[in-house]
């Protein structure tokens, strides 16, 4: 059965982390009664050593995660430890520096550490919140399947638009070609690709076209109806004299026109609008899926490079402190 990393092995790492925090805090308070606390006292060195070891261990998670054949415990156990000991690190390092900050390398290392831990907090939230959202949004469809369906809808749209005319075909083609999904980081995070604008432009053009066609259809039908009425009157008047005459042909032509002309186009436009709205819904869903995935993972762009920067700053901090011992 699936067990959240937050309660891995009955929250073993939570207890470990709490223990470490309580111990550090107690030692700090006791020591602060004896001397002015800072990173250079014996407690300062001890907390600093614990903090540095924690950082190295937390960084090793990045390596462990990528080693699928490692025998050193489950990744979910490592993640549990990573999260809880990361929280403990925030306190241990703060007590190590004894709230002394300045414009120097040491505070740079601390700031980087805080940013890494804060981005990690977001990561924990994202890993708890977004996977179920993503599942609900997808409704069983993978990104690939959604893309395939969108492509098929594009095909159908073009086929239908082709029946309407060049203008509709061009509009559809432009709409299809401007369908952009995802994009840069900001666009993925906010789901704001220019797709919507283009698709709405196409839709409004199609609605105009439909209205135009409907008007034309109504006009044609009215003309045809009056023609038909005229033809029928004439036919009735001339029936005995010319039973196979030209008026019958007129009547046939009028019926043909009424059956095929702009009425079909109106139907096609309606079909196209229907297809377009299906595509719009599907694209929106895919965009949301892309957004959730981006929200689920973008913090890593901060977390990982800054943790490497932290490694550099930590090494520089340790070396510098002992150069000027």
């Amino acid at each position: 059965m699936h067990q959240s990393f937050l309660i891995y092995r009955r929250a073993r790492y939570l207890k470990l982390s709490l223990g470490l925090m309580i111990l550090s805090l107690a030692a700090y308070i006791a020591d602060a009664r004896l001397e002015q606390p800072n990173g250079g006292t014996w407690l300062g060195y001890t907390l600093g050593t614990i903090g540095a070891l924690l950082i190295f261990w937390l960084l090793w998670f990045g390596v462990r995660k990528r080693k699928y054949r490692s025998g050193s415990g489950m990744v979910s156990g490592w993640l549990s430890g990573h999260v809880y000991l990361g929280i403990a690190l925030l306190l241990v390092a703060t007590l190590h520096c004894a709230f002394q900050f300045g414009w120097n390398l040491h505070t740079l290392a601390y700031t980087l550490m805080v940013l890494v831990i804060l981005s990690g907090f977001y990561g924990v939230f994202a890993y708890i919140y977004f996977p179920s959202r993503l599942m609900d949004n997808g409704g069983g469809l993978s990104d690939e399947a959604m893309l395939t369906e969108i492509a098929e809808l594009d095909g159908e749209c073009l086929a239908v638009a082709d029946k309407i005319g060049d203008k509709a075909h061009q509009t559809m083609l432009r709409s299809i070609e401007s369908t952009v999904i995802g994009g840069g980081l900001w666009q993925q995070l906010t789901a704001t690709s220019p797709r919507r604008v283009q698709m709405e432009a196409a839709e409004s053009k199609l609605i105009d076209l439909r209205n135009e066609l409907e008007e034309e259809h109504t006009r044609v039908m009215r003309t045809l109806t009056s023609l038909r009425v005229q033809a029928q009157i004439q036919q009735q008047a001339q029936q005995p004299a010319n039973p196979e005459g030209s008026d019958r042909t007129t009547l046939f032509m009028v019926d043909q026109l009424a059956a095929t002309g702009s009425g079909d186009k109106v139907l096609a436009v309606r079909q196209l609008l229907d297809l377009l709205s299906r595509k719009k819904a599907l694209t929106a869903r895919l965009q949301r899926a892309v957004q959730y995935q981006a929200l689920l993972r973008f913090w890593l762009i901060v977390h990982v490079p800054l943790s490497i920067a932290l490694l550099a700053a930590l090494l520089a901090h340790i070396v510098a402190v002992f150069i000027y011992w």
Partner: protein
């Protein structure tokens, strides 16, 4: 124009079939409509998409009729001149211009570039899809490497380079914005070190070696030792200045005042130095600090030697000042009788603090006693006084005074001879016998008055007076030995205790003898002062009262005796 249109159908990569058709006329039409010369059944191609015609310059030109245009050798365009080898891409089709066979003006090869239906649309869609963070160009690996290198170079490598080449270090420090060893500064220096604050190497002289004493002593040359260099202390506190002095703790944070820097040694000193008998075990103020020792002057011939005696000594603890001064008598509630009537005295009448307020000014006769204790000696002239402080001067004063009175005459004393009592008339001359008698009287009188002054009336009231030989009029006043610094090993400041009543520490009101030692014991201090951590009393450390660098020790930079452990100190 005669144009060959060759349609290529590829079943597999190695097998293709060709279908040739011919077009005669002034143009070749391209589109999805039935009847176009080059028929391209692709939904992205419009019905009549483009046409090829002969241009005025004799070349063939392709012109698009659809706004979407076409790709000509990879470039989207509306029109282009054609030449052999050109490639036109329209939807999923590629139109290649091939060398025309004989009798043909133009030859085109048309091939559908991708086979499955709908695949083109999907591929076209995929080209506009960017999903996943990897596609955004924010490569974590690249950023990680960039930040790693930037930090290591700017915050470690460049500042460290200055260690090997000091001129570089100076340049880096001088130019703002450049990474120098200033980025390693862990906190503000003590204000006394601010003046060289930018030069880290004033103190940090060797990389990876903690700050050494030599760095401190190069400026602090006169700083005396804490312990007597001749004492065989195993671990001397003088070996390492940084034990007590840690900089970068802010303007006031240079001196560490915690008692735990003292007690590790002072709680064991009597064991370490048992043969000296100098030390007791002290681990705190509240319980183990011994009773105070007062420093009393021991009267001696010519010199006065200070001896330190514990206040709880069961022997005869007396101050032998050779002065008679009952505090109680001077402080009585009704006041004392002065020359101008009753005077109400209090402590401040005589004890005034010296500048700075630490100690009290020494008591002086002229300033503190003379107001009441007049040195008059002759009732007929109550304003005339003998001088203070010099026996011979007193005797000479008396002799010359009475000689003058004898020779003047008119001295109203029935015991005096007639020649002294008789008033002189102007121009009257003494006979030799008369003169001798008058001076004889003056000598006797000054001796009598002197004995009275020294032995009963003036001097003996306060001083111990000896007269070694009764016949000779020469008295000796025992030298006054008033203790000036009662507790020379501690720095007590009266000014900081000004809110207190004097009587809280000094029980002068009940002291009837100047031999009483009126200094308060440790129990008196303990009623207000406690150790660090004490909740009810003022938290005090060793250095609240004691100095570490003792002024009676030699300066630290002086050469050390060779057997001393400090001589081997780094």
């Amino acid at each position: 124009m005669r144009c060959l249109i060759r349609t290529v159908t590829r079943a597999s990569a190695s097998h293709a079939t060709f279908k040739d058709s011919e077009c005669l006329g002034d143009r070749v039409t391209i589109g999805r409509a039935v009847g176009q010369h080059v028929f391209l059944p692709d939904l992205r191609v419009t019905l009549r998409h483009a046409r090829i015609a002969l241009a005025e310059n004799g070349r063939f030109a392709i012109v698009s009729r659809a706004p979407s245009g076409f790709l000509h050798n990879g470039q989207t365009t509306q029109q282009a001149y054609l030449q052999t080898g050109d490639r036109i891409l329209l939807g999923g089709y590629e139109i290649r211009v091939i060398p025309p066979p004989a009798d043909y003006d133009l030859a085109l090869e048309v091939e559908r570039s991708r086979s499955a239906k709908g695949q083109e649309l999907r591929e076209a869609l995929m080209s506009r899809v960017r999903i996943g963070l990897a596609a955004t160009g924010f490569g974590m690996r690249r950023w990680s490497w960039a930040l790693l290198l930037l930090i290591l170079v700017a915050f470690l490598a460049v500042p460290a380079a200055g260690l090997f080449h000091p001129p570089l270090s100076e340049k880096l420090r001088a130019i703002p914005g450049l990474p120098s060893d200033k980025v390693w500064d862990v906190g503000e220096l003590a204000s006394s070190h601010h003046y060289f604050g930018t030069d880290c190497n004033m103190c940090h002289q060797k990389p990876f070696i903690p700050v050494r004493n030599e760095a401190c002593l190069s400026c602090h040359q006169g700083q005396p030792w804490h312990i007597d260099p001749s004492l065989p202390v195993v671990k001397s506190p003088d070996t390492d200045c940084t034990v007590c002095h840690k900089d970068h703790n802010g303007p006031e944070g240079l001196i560490r005042t915690e008692s735990r820097f003292c007690t590790p040694c002072h709680s064991k000193l009597n064991a370490q130095l048992s043969d000296t008998g100098l030390f007791t075990t002290i681990s705190d103020f509240s319980h183990t600090h011994p009773q105070f020792k007062v420093s009393l002057l021991e009267p001696g011939a010519g010199t006065q030697r200070a001896v330190r005696i514990r206040l709880d000594w069961t022997g005869d603890l007396r101050e032998r000042s050779n002065l008679k001064f009952p505090h109680a008598k001077h402080l009585q509630a009704g006041g004392v009788k002065g020359p101008n009537g009753q005077v109400k005295l209090d402590c401040a009448s005589c004890h005034t603090p010296e500048a700075g307020g630490q100690h009290m000014q020494p008591i002086r006769f002229e300033k503190n006693c003379h107001g009441c204790h007049r040195l008059t000696f002759d009732p007929t002239e109550p304003d005339r006084e003998a001088p203070h402080g010099n026996v011979q001067a007193v005797l000479q004063t008396l002799e010359s005074y009475y000689a003058l009175r004898a020779l003047e005459g008119g001295y109203a004393d029935p015991a005096a001879p007639e020649i002294v009592r008789r008033r002189r008339r102007p121009g009257e001359q003494f006979a030799d016998e008369e003169r001798a008698a008058a001076l004889e009287w003056a000598t006797q009188k000054s001796a009598t008055v002197g004995a009275e002054l020294f032995e009963y009336r003036a001097c003996a009231i306060c001083h111990t007076v000896d007269k070694p030989e009764p016949a000779v009029p020469a008295w000796r006043i025992s030298p006054v030995a008033l203790a000036q610094a009662w507790f020379p090993k501690a720095h007590f400041t009266h000014a900081r205790h000004a809110t207190m009543d004097c009587a809280a520490c000094h029980d002068a009101a009940h002291s009837t003898s100047s031999a009483d030692v009126l200094m308060p014991g440790i129990e008196n201090c303990r009623s207000c002062h406690g150790d660090v951590g004490d909740r009810d009393r003022l938290q005090s450390t060793c250095v609240s009262c004691h100095d570490f660098h003792l002024i009676d020790r030699p300066p630290q930079h002086a050469a050390l005796p060779s057997p001393h452990p400090l001589a081997q100190a780094p």
